[in-house]
């Protein structure tokens, strides 16, 4: 690990650079004994141990209940209250990347960067208003417990099994990079905050998260997600207050941000660019990121599966109101943080940070230099990472066993739960190995996998929920065409056609797959399920 920017003002602490993820690191250069180590890090250690113990306790608490049957392990018997699902949806969608990467990027882009958050809230509303209630009702009627088996039971065609297995394979492939990126980010946080080795950090994060997910199944995933969501919500508010507390109030902070002498990455003076609309970043780029990430809420299984577990209509209504509030308030805070950190940075520090925006949050914590605040923010960052990891971990286990294994060779329900647990461990072991040797461009792969989900799953989900005329062939081919368009745009066109760089692959992939769904469903009308089945699904006749 090499040392980067050393700050003169704090002699014991060094701001360093760790490979892969840039972050602020607290290292005592002279440290050499365990006692000194504990004396120095005890606050962070206590917070992290309490947090970890709490997660494991929840897993243990629900162990027996989750092992009862497939319905319990996969969807928590659809008996989780709306407020918990609301927080779980928020914590699952937002990961460490938002609290470090997106928050830090506003150091370069200015306060206009919050428009990305605006887009995300719009898609959160679309997800809950359009998909949530119908998904809960239809999946309960069809006894669906995973997204791929929803495609199977809803479309009930000669292509149903193919859609189910194909979508499970997409989940397995796309999720691997996402889980690796989260594990890598959390491991680097442990390296940074506690001076732990990267391999041990990765092992602990993966082991603890998988352990509580396997113990309590969807129960522990949802309840830990809910608690983690609450922590993240308050940490977002805490983070935006740190620059103001450091400078001595909001008024002097806003003044210094509006009159900053700092330079852009190209060396131009920022002037009042941090406070004016899209001076430092194009609206096309904001829209691209806003859509690319925001649309995950209407297509990724880790978000959609949340709807399955809500206990009743009243809870659904509460969650529909509360989720955009949790998400919106948190994002409004988090997206402003980077820009506000200009008020804390000297010209020299700013010239470094503007080119390394992933280090901005770490820099802010180091400069504020309060171990309790650092401990709380770190707990929030881990909560963001672990909640997303746990959510996808169970999605992967259910996809392998529920949507591939049982389709090929049916299993007893008890065996299905037991096999799912084992497969979750095996998949996590694979993630651990990849995390030790992460491929280059893992962040890009993660973003790309989000586009694959949107192009592949959204038409099949949306059409299945709303259109009686939706067919299995339409769903299957829209997946293939959508994913193919995404791949071709990303690797063949985006960076080779002039002016297309800012058009994220999610946009053409989404549009083409939606058009393909409509056209192919109309052309294959004979593949439509029988009317009795459709009446049952859409509740148009008592069945």
């Amino acid at each position: 690990m090499q040392c980067g920017l050393i700050r003169d003002s704090i002699d014991r602490w060094a701001l360093t650079y760790s490979p892969g993820i840039y972050t602020c690191i607290f290292i005592d250069v002279k440290e050499n004994s365990h006692m000194e180590y504990i004396a120095k890090y005890w606050v962070i250690l206590v917070i992290m141990i309490v947090y970890t113990a709490f997660c494991l306790l929840i897993g243990q608490w629900f162990k027996k209940k989750a092992a009862e049957n497939v319905d319990a392990f996969y969807v928590a018997k659809r008996e989780i209250p709306g407020w918990a699902i609301s927080l779980a949806f928020f914590s699952t969608f937002i990961s460490t990347n938002t609290y470090i990467g997106q928050a830090g990027f506003s150091f370069q882009a200015g306060l206009s960067w919050a428009w990305v958050g605006f887009y995300w809230v719009v898609f959160c509303m679309i997800s809950w208003l359009l998909l949530g209630p119908r998904m809960r009702v239809q999946t309960a009627k069809l006894k669906s417990v995973t997204i791929p088996d929803y495609f199977d039971y809803r479309y009930k065609s000669s292509f149903s099994k193919a859609i189910r297995m194909f979508s499970a394979v997409i989940i397995l492939f796309a999720t691997l990079w996402y889980m690796t990126a989260i594990a890598k980010g959390c491991a680097h946080l442990l390296v940074s905050t506690l001076g732990m080795s990267y391999a041990w950090g990765a092992f602990l994060v993966i082991f603890i998260t998988t352990l509580y997910s396997v113990l309590g199944g969807m129960y522990s995933v949802l309840w830990t997600d809910a608690v983690q969501g609450l922590i993240m919500f308050f940490v977002a508010i805490l983070m935006v207050m740190i620059p103001a507390m450091y400078v001595g109030g909001w008024e002097p902070l806003m003044y210094s941000v509006a009159h900053t002498p700092h330079l852009t990455p190209k060396g131009q003076p920022m002037g009042n660019g941090l406070m004016t609309f899209c001076t430092l970043v194009s609206f096309a780029y904001i829209t691209s990121i806003g859509l690319a990430v925001g649309m995950k809420q209407i297509s990724e299984p880790r978000c959609l599966i949340r709807f399955y577990s809500i206990d009743n209509a009243k809870s659904m209504k509460f969650a529909m109101i509360a989720t955009p509030i949790f998400l919106g308030v948190s994002l409004a805070c988090v997206f402003a943080v980077g820009a506000l950190v200009h008020g804390m940075a000297t010209d020299q520090e700013a010239s470094y940070l503007v080119k390394h925006t992933d280090e901005v949050i770490g820099f802010m914590l180091a400069k504020f230099n309060n171990p309790w605040v650092t401990g709380c923010v770190m707990a929030g960052l881990f909560a963001a990472g672990m909640s997303s990891y746990a959510a996808v971990s169970i999605i992967v286990g259910t996809a392998i066993v529920g949507d591939i294994w049982t389709v090929i060779k049916p299993l007893e329900p008890k065996k299905q739960v037991s096999y799912t647990k084992r497969l979750m461990w095996i998949y996590s072991a694979i993630v651990f190995i990849i995390t030790l040797y992460p491929p280059a461009g893992i962040v890009e792969l993660t973003a790309f996998s989000g586009a694959v989900f949107t192009a592949g799953f959204f038409p099949a989900v949306f059409g299945g929920l709303f259109f009686r005329w939706g067919t299995g062939k339409g769903a299957f081919w829209s997946m293939i065409i959508g994913i193919a368009t995404t791949v071709i745009w990303r690797f063949g066109l985006r960076f080779y056609l002039p002016g297309m760089k800012d058009i994220h692959e999610i946009i053409p992939g989404f549009i083409v797959s939606l058009i393909a769904y409509f056209i192919i469903c109309k052309l294959t009308a004979s593949d439509k399920p029988d009317e009795e089945h459709l009446d049952h699904v859409f509740h148009t006749k008592k069945s």
Binding site: V70, K77, A140, M316, M320, A332
Partner: protein
């Protein structure tokens, strides 16, 4: 902070309020709720 930059912040709050109004006027009924309750009282095994 100019109007359009500020709009991203108060706009998020406005969206949340609009969403709350829309949801409060929506009638959400789980048609299968009664059947689910019956199932829960009986066998829970789904596979």
């Amino acid at each position: 902070m100019d109007f359009l930059t500020g709009m991203s912040y108060w706009g998020i709050i406005l969206l949340a309020i609009i969403n709350a109004i829309i949801v409060s006027r929506m009638k959400i009924v789980f048609h299968g709720e009664e059947e689910d309750e019956e199932e829960k009282r009986g066998s829970c095994s789904v596979g």
